[in-house]
């Protein structure tokens, strides 16, 4: 059966209806139209569908759409401030931290969550924080460097 869900998605009040057994990933993609939420596995093993639910980093494939009722959802589509890209987005581009790009939205959300919690992570902390996001193209090297660089820039920005 169908359920009606009211959520705050990327800052906007959004209502959508979905099947009771439909995942939030499917609902965001197919009901709300946020295709930046990617499906790589559907079982929480790849992180491509990473979003934030009430601020917590989660795989949206392991959340029911119905669970989003009254909660806030953040996806990659809400990351930039209008036309101004988030520092992480800019650094991912500068460092070529993406090749095919399918894993990128998930990495960005995970990295954003990390840097908000830990503004000066070590390389090891970055690697463990991003371990839930699989990338098959880059070998992670440039992703880690992009996050390191973004951390430096974001810290400077805070000091100002």
């Amino acid at each position: 059966m169908s359920v009606l869900v009211n959520s705050t998605i990327n800052g906007d009040n959004v209502s959508f209806s979905c099947d009771a057994d439909e995942t939030l990933m499917d609902a965001l993609r197919n009901r709300v139209g946020l295709k930046g939420v990617k499906e790589g596995c559907g079982t929480g093993d790849c992180g491509a569908c990473s979003i934030r639910l009430d601020g917590a980093l989660v795989c949206s494939c392991l959340v029911l759409g119905a669970e989003a009722e009254g909660r806030t959802v953040e996806t990659v589509e809400g990351m930039s401030n209008g036309a101004e890209l988030h520092v992480l987005q800019t650094k991912f581009l500068e460092h070529a931290a993406l090749q095919c790009g399918i894993c990128t939205p998930g990495f960005l959300i995970a990295a954003q969550t990390l840097l908000e919690k830990n503004p000066s992570p070590t390389e090891t902390e970055i690697r463990y924080a991003l371990a839930g996001n699989l990338c098959r193209c880059t070998g992670y090297d440039k992703i880690v460097r992009a996050v390191q660089d973004a951390a430096v820039v974001m810290k400077k920005g805070r000091k100002k």
């Binding site: 057994d21 929480g44 093993d45 980093l57 924080a129």
Partner: protein, 286 residues
């Protein structure tokens, strides 16, 4: 499928008791939704317990830490007093999946999933943790090692739901540790795991210990002979050798895609020794 999100434990119990068909509790969802996706289960009713207030808190009481069944492992890791008292349990809970999974998964869910490889369960068993079970006939307390019966099967009765896990208060000069073996650093299921919780007396002699092993039998198990092997010792090499032998004797693993009988038995010994050393150090031993 029907989705229910009760506000109280009583409502959850009532829904669990009265709902028809296949009824499943949704805590973190990291197992339930995977099984739904694979078509292994097709629930008629899913009861989401995350909106129940009493299940969403970590309370420090005289009896210890009462951790609500819907508390995510990520929230446990943010609780400083809990981390200080039970570093082994928190580490075990923090090893489940990725940060993404941590944001959802719960220890109670890990326990009720009844997988022999569940990371938090051996650590809870070593800690002598109890589960607070609410049911149509009121509440009952069950030792964590008594919850799983067989892979995927629990001793919970119709209508029952775990409301919280109780970790005992931290004893003086005690320490716990959990180690698991996985081929990858993260995003993996334990091939073997070991948890040790011990208390020291005078001169660093172990006065009390609990040793638990995971993924070497149909369920995580408390290994009393392994504890016996180190009680009364200062965890010298002889004691460690006896601990390893007792751990090996308790192993009854299977050959599967994740490891062989031989490998699991060998590594269970290695992990038991390593975990014991960490616990010993955490308890203040040298």
């Amino acid at each position: 499928m029907l989705y229910e999100s009760p506000q109280t434990t009583e409502d959850a119990v009532e829904l669990l008791s009265k709902s028809k068909g296949k009824v499943h509790v949704l805590a973190g969802g990291s197992d339930l939704l995977v099984r739904m996706k694979g078509g292994y289960i097709e629930p008629d009713v899913v009861i989401d317990i995350k909106r129940i207030k009493s299940m969403n808190t970590i309370k420090k009481t005289a009896d210890g830490f009462l951790i609500g069944a819907a508390v995510s492992c990520a929230r446990m890791a943010d609780h400083q007093a809990l981390c200080k008292a039970w570093p082994g349990v928190v580490e075990a809970a923090s090893l489940i999946g990725s940060d993404q999974i941590q944001g959802r998964c719960t220890m109670a869910g890990n326990m009720c999933n009844a997988s022999p490889a569940a990371d938090s369960v051996p650590a809870m068993i070593a800690a002598e943790a109890w589960a607070l079970v609410q049911g149509p006939r009121g509440e009952r307390w069950v030792l964590v090692e008594k919850i799983a019966k067989a892979p995927g099967v629990t001793t919970l009765r119709k209508g029952e739901v775990v409301e919280a896990i109780l970790l005992p208060p931290k004893y003086k000069k005690s320490g716990d540790a959990y180690l698991r073996f996985t081929p990858r650093t993260e995003m993996d299921i334990a091939v073997v795991s070991a948890a040790v919780n011990l208390t020291l007396g005078a001169k660093g002699v172990i006065t009390d210990a609990r040793v638990a092993l995971g993924a070497v039998g149909p369920k995580a198990m408390l290994v009393k002979p392994a504890a016996k092997a180190i009680v009364g010792t200062t965890l010298d090499d002889a004691a460690l050798a006896k601990l390893a032998a007792a751990a090996a004797a308790a192993c009854d693993p299977i050959d599967d895609k994740r490891g062989t009988i031989q490998f699991r038995t060998k590594v269970a010994q290695v992990l038991a020794k390593r975990a014991a050393k960490i616990a010993y150090q955490r308890a203040g031993g040298k």
